[in-house]
Each structure stands twice: as structure tokens, then as C-alpha cells.
Symmetry: C2
Subunit: 378 residues, 2 copies
């Protein structure tokens, strides 16, 4: 499936939760499949921390350009684009196309940098709703997302209950725990205390706070994986020690990478620092921290979710300690308290939080069945 | 109990596991209680990452100078200094008195910095054994330690089996998992990529890599606590929001601390960066990474522990995800495979890895009973 990214310009200012206004912005998006005549088969995909609108398909002539949920979405796939019209959209504040801190403020012509306004899950959902307005889609067959994308999905059912028929919330949570916020904060501090950060205006200084980005990514990566999968994949294996031969002696160095897990994390950090924007990292982790629909209801999630009218599928993974199954069960319970229609699958997968992006036949078949049984009028 | 730190000088070079020699070094230590005439009541305490020889008692005229295991060790305490002669010793490479990277190399007069040799748990135990030689103590009633201190305790029973009658290994593990190493590595990278690190020779540049130390400590601190205790203590509480009053609105900032957990971690990081040496941090985390007595036995811990003849008490804490109970149970199993005398207590405590330093009546009474029933000839 060859796809082409698109961009839409919005003139009307977007009022943000913080009270700020974002005016004159673009949203990058992609679509897969065909909108039917009753406009009833649209599915919106919301992305997580370091993903984009490029959800499925490949770009013409570009090797390894598969979308981040390529295994899940396409012709004949669990979310079948022969039946559904699927929309991927890049969120505001991102560094992958939609207006973000790397772009110029329309009034001043200056790069936003640290002055890009803080955006929330609710703001993203409002921006996504405007994109759907522009595409002539009033009601979505479904919204679907994993992790932070699951938070947007949940928020859709609260902000626009009449526009969402189904919500597929994967490996997500009704808010972050103190430990989740703690990991985000360490990553942010690594970035903001990097001398190359310059208060977020590093573009003007011709620098990139790569040291901080590397550390942030290394921390993040640890939390995406399970202890078990890390032990299985790396264990205590040494760098440049063959598994069959007698293991070499230690290097006895505090500076050199000694264990394979160290080399792996350094590689992931280096790669990430080459393409990801530091201000985007701050914005997206903050959106994660702030999401808490129960907050306006004294912490009562059941009261908060009373507005939702969609049918729900929730999926969690047993070894996901970042967004543990018990957090999904909190959402399930709150929906059941409101007599909502909820399906829930807890997948016994070894891969930790990353499992939501991987192929697991139990996981993909749950999603496939859910979309297969979804009625769509022609 | 008023105590006074002491220091002992060693002229004979110490051969290290890496093949290097450390010559002309000092060990700082403290003792509590009286050595009996048969010299049979000595207990050695081994310290963990950021502790020292100041294990118990207070310094004359210094407020808040309690030793780090003050609740556990002293007259009438679980390890009763009316019965036992207790020795606290600071490890080589530390920044609290014993010879370390902040000291001068005896040959060159230059501060060691990054040139201080890598030291291992086994090296520390050898140095501790020399201190005991100098104190005229051949056999220890017990060695005791938590976390990294528990690793030294275990190593004592393997390196000097005939010199240890009892080993008390608390919240420890037979080696680090890939995830443990990963957290250490991120912390080390935060330090070594801080521009103020200067390859470890920051003393000569008049700088301290405080940014890196702060990040390292924040990461460490998250792993010392349990998710549960963090939620209970901080949850999603905002900074400067009273609990009784209506919660304030968010600051909507990516740079300011918004949640109390953020303020707490920043405070811990700042405090640590003021007193802890960056090279010591690298050395101690590396000693943790390298410890793996089963390595020389093809990974077979039962074979590795066959040398141990001591009686053992192991204690673990249910919410400790850094050194989880299952790691202690690996040691228990390997000892039982060798028909050794082992007691094991798994304490249902909410405080995570930090629990080994806290007061929990079930924990302290297990330790108290163990030492009370220990026979010591006059």
C-alpha cells in the first residue's frame, strides 16, 4: 500500500486548555482506504510519544518506510482498509510535520522553540476534530490508539461523545502514576540541563541538546521493555563475547560499554538524538503528565467517564509496567459503573509496554474480531 | 553512643581483580562495642552505594550525625553492641574517607580522578580482610550488609569461608539483571557526557559534573522506591497546592516543576550533587555490575556457593523491584542445594528497595532474633 502524506492548513485560532491560542497551524495526516458514501467507516488513529501520522503503508521508492502500525492496519490486516477509511494525524507540537516548536510563530516570524504553547491531550483531540470537520466526517466508526494514543482515544469519548461509536484503547491508563511522572521528569531534566538546550532556543544557537536527548531516550527505552524480555534478549552478555566461546574477561572500565544492554541503549539514544526534537519531547511528556480526566471530578473516574457513550475495547499486556493492566482495569471498572459496553483483553505477553506495537497473534486477533464485528452501513 | 572515625594506613600493595595494583592506601572505619577476649564477637558491616563507615552512633557535638544503620545497630538494638563488636568500613574508591579518586596517586602526586583503578566487590572484601588482620580479628561472628553490602557479605563467605560464621544478606542479589545494569548505565552516561566531567579529570578543571550527578541520583531514587509508596506519598499532588483546598490550575509549563514528585526528585538530585563524587559513582555502580560469583562456574550459582560454609540469614522485601525477592530466593536455593544452614524472611513491606534502611518491626525482629540466638564465647 503506497501512501502520500498530506497537510491541512487551519486559519481559525485553536483555544488551548492553558488559555493560550494557537493560530495559523498545519496538521499533517494520511488516509488509507476509501470513505464510504454514508461516511460511516472512518477510523482515527492517535499516536504515542515518538510516532507520527505515518501509521500504515509505505512511501513510494523508500525502503523501510513502513508506517508504525503497519502490522495492524492495511488491506486484509486486523484493521482492514478494504472496509474502513483510516486516518493518521500528527499532533500539534510534534517534530514530524504538524506545527510545532521547530516552526515560526506566524506573527513574529521567529522559531517558537520553548515558546510553543503547552498542548494537552484535550487540545490534540480538539485539533483532530477540526481535521475531521474539514474532511466532512461527522461521526467516527472508531478511534484507536496505544499508550498516549489510548489517552487521546479515551478523551475523544469524553469531549465528543456523539462523534465516536467505538473506542479501542490499548496499553493505556486513565492518568500517569507518580513513578511515570518521575521517569518523564528525569528525562526532561536531562534535556533542559544540557548546556546545548539554551532554555529551549537552541535552534538560534545552532546547537541540539543531544546529550540530554540520548539520556531521555535511554530512560524511556528501559521503561518500554520488561525486565524479563531484557534478561532474555541481553541478560549479562558481554559486548564482543561470542555466546559459544568462553566469555572474555571484563574490560574493567567505567567508561567503555561492557555489557550488550549498554551498547544497545547507547545505540538507541544516539539514533533518537539525531532525529527527535528536544522541545517536542518536553511537550509530549508533559501532555502525558497532565492527562487526568478524573481530576475535574474529585478523582472519581466513574463520574468522569459518565459522559462517554461509545462502545469500548481495552487491551493491556501483563508485563507492561509502564501502563500496567491494573490501570486498564480502572478504566474498565469506571465504564462498567456507567453500564457501558466494554470488552477487555489482558494479553499474557513478555514484551512490556512495547507489546502494543508488536505482533502477537492473540492481540491482533482480538483487534481483528472487534473490527470485523463492527457494523458499517454502506 | 558517641563514636569517632578512625583511619588505617596500608603499605602493602593490594592486587586488584583487574590485574592492577593499588598501593599505599587508607581505609576509614569505625567500631562500636568491645571486642571480647576470645575475639569471637566481631561483626563486619558492608555498605551500599552512597553510604560509608559511619554505620551507627553519632559524632560528638554534631546534630543529625546518626550513622546510616543507626536504627539497627547500637546498645540494645537488633544488632546489640553490648554483645557484639561491630566494625563499619568505608570501601576503596569511595568519597567518604578511604582512598579514592579524589586522592593523590602516591607515585605521581596527581589526583587519581578517572585513573583510579576499577575496584570490585572481591577487591573490597580483600581490603576489609586486611583491616581485620590489622585489628587482630581472625574470625567474624558475622558479616552483614544490604543491597551492594549484601553482595560483599555473600562474597566474604566465598573468599574467606573459614573466617565467617554467619552471613546476613539483606535486599540483595547474586548479580544484577540487564535492567539493573541498564539503569546504572544511564546514570553513568548522564555523568560522563556532562561537559563538566572532562573525562573524569574535572578536579583539575575546577568543575563538578553536577548536572550528571543530579540525573544519576534522580534515576537511582526512582528505583529505590516502590510504585505504591510513591503513589501514596506523592501521587499526582501538585506543588504548592494544599490538599484540603481546591487544587490549583496547572502551570502549563514544561520547565517548572508541577507535581510534588518532581520537586522531591530535583531536591534529592541537588543535595546529592553537592557531596557525592562523580568518579566514585562510576566505580561503585561498576562494582555492582561486575559482581557475579556464578560467572566462573558457567552461571551455576549452586556450584559457585559450594565454597560457602557460613550459616545464612537472607531478608528481602516484597515491593523491592531493584533487588526483588526472587533474586534472594536464587541465593537461598543455591545454598540449600549445598545443604547449608539458611534462614529466609520475605517481608511484606511497601517501601521498595529502601525498606532495608527503614524501621519495620517484622524486619528488625527477624534480625534481632538472629543475632540474639548467635552464640558468642567470652
Amino acid at each position: 500500500m503506497i501512501v502520500t502524506p498530506q497537510s491541512m492548513h487551519f486559519d481559525a485560532p485553536l483555544p488551548l486548555q492553558s488559555g493560550a491560542l494557537l493560530r495559523d497551524y498545519n496538521l499533517s495526516y494520511e488516509t488509507y482506504g476509501m470513505l464510504n458514501t454514508s461516511r460511516s467507516n472512518a477510523v482515527l488513529i492517535c499516536h504515542a510519544l515518538n510516532a507520527s501520522h505515518h501509521v500504515a503503508g509505505v512511501y513510494a521508492g523508500q525502503d523501510k518506510s513502513e508506517g508504525w502500525w503497519h502490522n495492524m492496519i492495511g488491506p486484509g490486516k486486523p484493521l482492514d482498509t478494504n472496509k474502513f477509511f483510516v486516518i493518521g494525524v500528527n499532533n500539534l507540537g510534534s517534530c514530524f510535520g504538524s506545527t510545532g516548536p521547530m516552526h515560526a510563530h506566524p506573527d513574529t516570524g521567529q522559531i517558537y522553540g520553548a515558546d510553543f504553547p503547552v498542548v494537552t491531550v484535550e487540545d490534540w483531540v480538539n485539533a483532530q476534530a477540526r481535521l475531521l470537520d474539514a474532511l466532512g466526517i461527522e461521526t467516527l466508526a472508531a478511534v484507536m490508539g496505544g499508550s498516549l494514543g489510548g489517552m487521546q482515544t479515551l478523551s475523544w469519548t469524553l469531549q465528543y461523545p456523539s462523534r465516536v461509536r467505538h473506542a479501542v484503547v490499548i496499553a493505556s491508563a486513565p492518568n500517569l502514576t507518580a513513578e511515570n511522572i518521575a521517569f518523564n521528569e528525569v528525562a526532561r531534566r536531562a534535556i533542559t540541563t544540557d548546556p546545548d538546550f539554551h532554555g529551549g532556543h537552541f535552534y538560534a544557537h545552532g546547537t541540539v541538546p543531544k546529550r540530554g536527548l540520548r539520556i531521555a531516550r535511554m530512560i524511556g527505552h528501559i521503561t518500554y521493555l520488561s525486565d524479563d524480555v531484557m534478561n532474555e534478549k541481553f541478560g549479562r552478555k558481554l559486548i564482543s563475547a561470542s555466546q559459544s566461546a568462553q566469555e572474555r574477561d571484563y574490560f574493567y572500565s567505567t567508561l567503555e560499554a561492557e555489557f550488550q544492554i549498554e551498547g544497545y541503549l547507547r545505540y538507541q539514544g544516539d539514533k533518537f538524538a539525531e532525529y527527535f526534537d528536544a522541545n517536542t519531547y518536553l511537550l509530549i511528556t508533559r501532555a502525558l503528565d497532565y492527562f487526568d480526566p478524573a481530576r475535574a471530578f474529585g478523582g472519581n473516574l466513574s463520574l468522569a467517564l459518565a459522559r462517554a457513550t461509545a462502545k469500548f475495547l481495552l487491551v493491556s499486556f501483563t508485563t507492561d509496567w509502564r501502563f500496567a493492566p491494573k490501570r486498564s482495569r480502572e478504566i474498565v471498572k469506571a465504564l462498567l459503573d456507567n453500564q457501558r459496553d466494554v470488552s477487555y483483553a489482558e494479553i499474557n505477553a513478555p514484551h512490556g509496554h512495547d507489546a502494543f506495537l508488536l505482533d502477537d497473534p492473540r492481540y491482533t486477533s482480538v483487534v481483528r474480531s472487534y473490527f470485523e464485528s463492527m457494523e458499517v452501513t454502506a
